[in-house]
């Protein structure tokens, strides 16, 4: 029914005539005849726009939107300032391609250049690329940057996000890079174990801080150990936390990566999100993907272009540093608009609120009998044990419009952001007590 073809039937006939054909079928003369489908695909008939809208609205209604969320674990519900969606919905930003033609793409190029600058400021690193697919692929690409002829093994903290670990594992298996997990002790990367695992074949070490359990890692000590053995240090960071925590540069990291979703992107059932990557000056030319640089034009104006392309697949083919060609340009712009409108003070305010609320909730949960599993400092996530049946608890919360923390091994991983009001947390505690008092203690 619906399609977006502009030419009318009579125009199409004229065009066919012009090329000397009498029917549309003749366009496919090169295709072996018995392979042609003749419109017998098992797909429903097309629909008018209004029908499609109704249909997908019904599908959307089958999902449950939780008004209150205490679950993070890699995807965080933050407040998205109104201007963010307004800017990134602009038709031209939406429909443009990769900015190969710099003369008519200065808008996209400058927005990426500004994004790169912000990521450098946030991480303290020297250079950022134009972004990659998400936090997990950013970590996997960072590992690939570090491989050297004699250094072929990556050590990954077992306290990293499971999807980060799994994605690195897949990429390493694929490329023939060794990978070992560094054990966890009291919710953090076990540095004495790391010390024993490091050797001359270690290419790099990945540690996320805050880690999957929300804990702040001993990031500087780790950096010193790693560099002592000549390996590269990849640090995973949360961009909101990064606005108040010691920067990867201050911790000695060679590469900083992270999931950029908290910077203005909707939860969207897991994507599109944003992988950010930044490196020291020494590692800049090993960064994968697009990078925008400043130069000047034939008239002496400041201009932005895609640069250092000698690293990339369309020039280098099998010798490229990665096969990646697209970035997540619109998501990078989302992050840049978010940071621009929040400003340094707003970013840090969001971070302090996340952290403060998590500590309020942790205290209240402890009072309700949910003891904290680990002893160190945490940012906006933490793990508790549960004195009540977790499944029953989650169901009770769900009936009351709350998505509880994520059930993890022997406990619950809770998360708060600036979106979690005190009254919601108090209501959560009240509901938890209800479950506990109903005799469901295990």
């Amino acid at each position: 029914m619906g399609n977006y073809i502009s030419s009318t039937k009579s125009q199409s006939r004229e065009m066919l005539e012009e090329i000397g054909l009498s029917s549309m079928n003749e366009l496919y003369g090169q295709v072996p005849g018995h392979l042609l489908l003749h419109n017998n695909l098992d797909i429903p008939e097309g629909r008018a726009e209004m029908e499609v809208y109704d249909m997908l609205k019904k599908t959307a209604d089958k999902n449950h939107i939780f008004p209150v969320i205490f679950r993070g674990a890699g995807a965080y519900r933050h407040y998205i300032p109104a201007i963010v969606d307004t800017v990134v919905s602009k038709e031209t930003f939406l429909t443009a391609y990769t900015p190969y033609q710099a003369e008519i793409s200065q808008g996209i190029l400058q927005s990426i250049f500004e994004y790169q600058t912000m990521i450098c400021e946030l991480t303290g690193m020297s250079a950022s690329n134009a972004s990659v697919y998400d936090g997990a692929t950013a970590a996997a690409e960072a590992v690939a940057m570090c491989r050297e002829r004699k250094r072929t093994k990556a050590l990954i903290s077992a306290a990293a996000h499971p999807d980060v670990i799994e994605t690195i594992r897949t990429y390493c298996w694929s490329a023939g890079t060794g990978m070992e997990l560094i054990p966890v002790k009291d919710g953090k990367t076990d540095l004495s174990a790391l010390k024993n695992m490091l050797d001359e074949t270690t290419a790099c070490v990945y540690i996320g801080s805050p880690n999957y359990f929300g804990m702040l890692e001993e990031v500087e000590e780790a950096g010193a150990l790693i560099h002592e053995k000549g390996a590269k240090y990849i640090m995973g960071v949360n961009p909101i936390a990064a606005s108040i925590l010691k920067t990867p540069r201050e911790c000695g990291a060679d590469i900083a990566v992270g999931e950029g979703q908290p910077l203005g992107m909707h939860l969207g059932f897991g994507g599109p999100y944003l992988g950010f990557m930044a490196a020291t000056k020494a590692m800049t030319r090993k960064l994968p993907g697009r990078i925008v640089g400043e130069t000047f034009d034939s008239r002496g104006n400041r201009a932005y272009v895609l640069t250092l392309q000698a690293r990339e697949q369309h020039i280098r083919r099998e010798k490229a540093s990665s096969n990646i060609c697209s970035n997540q340009a619109l998501c990078a712009m989302t992050a840049a608009v978010y940071m621009a409108v929040m400003g340094p003070e707003g970013m840090q305010e969001a971070a302090y609120q996340c952290m403060s609320k998590a500590h309020y909730l942790a205290d209240e949960l402890e009072k309700a009998g949910f003891s904290l599993k680990y002893t160190g400092e945490f940012f906006h996530e933490f793990v508790t044990e549960s004195p009540v049946d977790v499944k029953m608890l989650m169901e009770h919360l769900e009936q009351n419009g709350i998505l509880g923390g994520l059930p993890v091994e022997n406990g619950i991983l809770w998360c708060t952001t600036e979106m979690n009001r005190k009254e919601d947390m108090d209501r959560l505690i009240h509901l938890i007590r209800e479950v506990a008092n109903n005799g469901t203690t295990i």
Binding site: Y4, A60, Y133, G271, A336, M342
Partner: protein, 475 residues
């Protein structure tokens, strides 16, 4: 124009968050940031005007003709944006329990069903975020398959020299070595060379069909047979599927695995370079190796299954670029069975019509009917008059047309690769043909003048050599 940072005024800000309603907690000193957080300080009005100015310095499909070869810059229907903005999709946490995300799982499951039908595959994953990511996932499936068969010496991937650069780069990321084979005189796969290259070390062949010259590989059944008989698998690079969607299926041509660029063929917007979606489909014998989780139907409900012992693992967080998949599904619902094939046929018609018009003046590489795209070469003009493919591209900028892909495919010197897509009407093609031809004629009359182009854009030709030699990568 000024950078956001240059517009910053100390103390200026927007008021977005309310005051914190619990006691303030800060990290202890050892964890605190030392370096000042130097982000721009702006009002919301500053931000709004800044991005409006950037929008004016950007060119999208909404601005005009965008015949960028191999990129399928078709119109991006706005209903796709509306469905992808429904809170019932945007506000869903990826780790909600299955019974609260039945709508999202239905989207993934329906998209899998329809796209498998269109490609002739049996199963599909949406985890890959882009075409290149899909390629990597597909070649990983091949690797896993050969490993499972104990066939570990199969480490070579055959790639025609007309292929996209991502193909060889992908093979290397998957720990394979690349065997490039030279295309035949007609720009198609040279069967003799393929036979010579295929052997007991062949993991697979990566192929685009129609190829990057816009030619349908007429020997496709023989090509896939040669590789299969050597024990290898055949990978379909879906970049050019728009020519044949709904008309003929990669699965029926003998391909074992495909990736789709949902941001090309299925009309989701390119967003200035992403986010896209590189869905990967495969035949049933490869399905168990797909990334996890997989969605299954259990009675009336959909469920995610993580227990996939043979899976290659994950290639990305969660389930891929879900909202992009949703846009593509919206498009499939709109077009339906007939609309999909009709779109492909009109893409081919438009390409042939424009090719015919341009052939009166330009040297067209294609012989006979092309598919969705065709290639011009400026080899002769470059040699004789120093008018290059790049010159033509830059002159088009002044005329409000986005230039074709230049200098690709690599096997054609001074190439201009043109893909009009089905969503352009006859008037646009007529007008574009006139512009292309007038540029050519002017260039031949006055070759010096064209080197100065573009003249009306916000910047002139940028110095790319300087950008690479003296990299300034931040403000």
């Amino acid at each position: 124009m000024e950078l956001l940072f240059e517009k910053s005024v100390t103390g200026r800000k927007s008021h977005i968050l309310p005051e914190c309603d619990v006691a303030l907690v800060k990290p202890s000193v050892q964890f605190q940031r030392v370096q000042e957080l130097n982000l721009p300080e702006l009002s919301e009005n500053d931000v709004s005007r800044h991005y409006s100015a950037l929008e004016r310095r950007t060119y999208g499909v909404n601005n005009g003709f965008y015949p960028l070869g191999s990129c399928t810059m078709k119109y991006n229907p706005r209903i796709n944006e509306v469905t992808a903005s429904m809170p019932g999709f945007t506000e869903i946490h990826p780790l909600q329990p299955d019974h609260t995300v039945q709508g999202c799982l239905e989207v993934l499951s329906s998209a899998e069903k329809y796209l498998c039908e269109i490609t002739g595959m049996d199963a599909m994953t949406f985890q890959p975020a882009a075409g290149a990511h899909g390629e990597l996932t597909g070649i990983m499936l091949f690797k896993k398959y050969h490993e499972a068969n104990g066939d570990t010496r199969r480490t070579k991937i055959i790639v025609p020299d007309s292929a996209h650069g991502t193909n060889p780069a992908t093979a290397v990321m998957a720990g394979m070595t690349v065997v490039n084979i030279k295309s035949g005189e007609d720009g198609c796969v040279d069967l003799a060379k393929l036979r010579a290259a295929a052997g007991d070390d062949t993991a697979g062949l990566m192929l685009t069909n129609p190829n990057t010259l816009g030619i349908f590989e007429k020997d496709i059944l023989e090509i896939t047979k040669i590789v299969h008989e050597a024990g290898g698998l055949v990978y379909y690079d879906g970049a050019n599927l728009n020519a044949i969607m709904g008309v003929v299926r990669p699965g029926d041509m003998g391909f074992d695995c495909v990736h789709l660029n949902l941001h090309k063929t299925f009309s989701t917007p390119h967003g200035g370079g992403g986010p896209g979606s590189g869905a990967v489909g495969c035949k049933s014998f490869l399905a168990k190796y797909l990334p996890k989780p997989h969605i299954v139907t259990e009675g009336a409900t959909l469920k995610q299954v993580y227990d996939c012992p043979d899976s290659i693992g994950k290639v990305k967080s969660f389930y891929g670029n879900f909202l992009v998949v949703l846009r593509a599904l919206t498009y499939i619902h709109t077009l339906g069975r007939e609309g999909i094939a009709e779109g492909a046929a009109h893409a081919v018609l438009n390409a042939n019509y424009l090719m015919k018009k341009l052939s009166t003046c330009y040297h067209v590489v294609n012989k006979g009917i092309c598919m969705h795209e065709f290639v011009l070469t400026m080899e002769k003009e470059a040699k004789e008059s120093h008018v290059t493919a790049m010159d033509i591209a830059k002159a088009l900028l002044d005329k409000g047309i986005h230039p074709p892909t230049v200098y690709f495919p690599l096997i054609i010197p001074e190439a201009l690769m043109i893909e009009p897509t089905e969503t352009e009407g006859k008037e646009m093609l007529d007008q574009a043909a006139e512009i292309f031809i007038s540029i050519y004629q002017e260039a031949m009359k006055d070759p010096e003048r064209i080197h100065q182009k573009p003249e009306t854009t916000v910047i002139g030709r940028p110095d790319e050599v300087n950008a690479a030699r003296n990299p300034i990568l931040r403000g």
